[in-house]
Assembly symmetry: C2
Homo-oligomer: 215 residues x 2
């Protein structure tokens, strides 16, 4: 597949949503869908759905919509979810431990293969089905295990140094849970995760419902 | 403020993004902005920005755009971020502990006021600046501390019972980290958090960059 330049990050986020909807439709035995239906369930316009998909080609038939199984397969391919991904956790504090224990980790063949921490006292501790390893073995283990991606779960002040170590070891994608903006070379992608963003959506809905009740 | 019915969840998510952009602009001393600029930085169309804001009134001046400070203040008000929110954590496993320790928790006056766990062995353990309390005191403490919102961080099989206990104690908003779909009464809002969604966005970007490098 040729590279697809200029796809907005928000489009990628919506493709993940469309894929989730298509998976649920397939599980319910639904065979076809439309940009209107995908739009309604993901709270964007049908035009936005068609525009998001148009970055990658033509998937539907005018008037007939989309075949659920076909579009789901195409989105899996576009999102890189048809191959296995070897994932490491960097930083085995409480968040790192919680992610190691998280269920459904291997959905779409994401495989947790290693867990690292800078603190020698943590080496050898169990983490999910693994044991924590020291940073000194990261380069060798990254090659040996072909680690592709990493969760970065260290404290904010330690985040850049930990990211540098991951990049030096050849990791190409970092899911950044640390409250820090990271500088990485252009061939590495950082995806930030804001654990508190949900609180702001929640406060809106709680206020809106209280007003509904009072109305 | 009258209730605003029918605002899509995705609009609320985008308002949170616009507010973050406006806060960054204000910190840089930027005084005015436009729907084009907000659109470009949040990767949606300018029409979408105007439509999202139009649910709540008229904020800009045709041709002159938006005053950053005014729009930021209005979005804070709309999102319910001008008042304090008392938040509890339900489930003091590793994820609960990690959230209790998370920095910048009190951004926009979210206040962590209590931490609960069903396991009596955890009662009294430190959690952030608090001590873990047993479920038997939840109803009394919820009233005494006027707890508004809760992080639900229990294992999936325990999630519905924990949510029921929160609802019975008067909590009106739940940020659900548990891998479970919750049933709650209509006056309660559940906001799901998928810790693994970021992995799917990450895999897309890593594949896209590898193809760019190969091209």
């Amino acid at each position: 597949m040729p590279a697809t330049p200029g796809v907005p990050a928000a489009t990628v986020g919506r493709l993940v949503t469309y894929l989730r909807l298509l998976t649920a439709m397939e599980e319910r035995g639904v065979r076809t869908t439309s940009s209107d239906e995908l739009a309604g369930r993901s709270h964007v316009s049908a035009f936005q759905v068609r525009k998001d998909l148009a970055y990658f080609g033509r998937f539907g038939t005018r008037g007939a919509g989309y075949t659920v199984a076909t579009l789901r397969r195409e989105l899996r391919r576009i999102l890189g979810l048809t191959r296995p991904w070897n994932v490491a956790i960097m930083g085995m504090g409480r968040l790192g431990q919680a992610l190691a224990d998280y269920p459904n980790f291997d959905e779409y063949d994401f495989r947790l293969v290693a867990a690292f921490d800078a603190d020698p006292a943590k080496a050898g501790l169990p983490a999910g089905g693994l044991f924590v390893e020291g940073l000194e073995v990261l380069p060798a283990r990254a090659t040996e295990l072909t680690i592709d991606l990493a969760f970065l779960t260290v404290p904010g002040p330690a985040a850049q140094a930990a990211a540098d170590a991951l990049v030096a070891a050849g990791i190409r994608g970092i899911l950044n849970f640390a409250p820090a903006v990271l500088e990485v070379p252009p061939h590495v992608h950082v995806e930030p995760v804001d654990l508190m963003a949900g609180l702001k959506r929640l406060s809106y809905h709680v206020v809106a419902r209280a007003e509904d009740d009072a109305a």
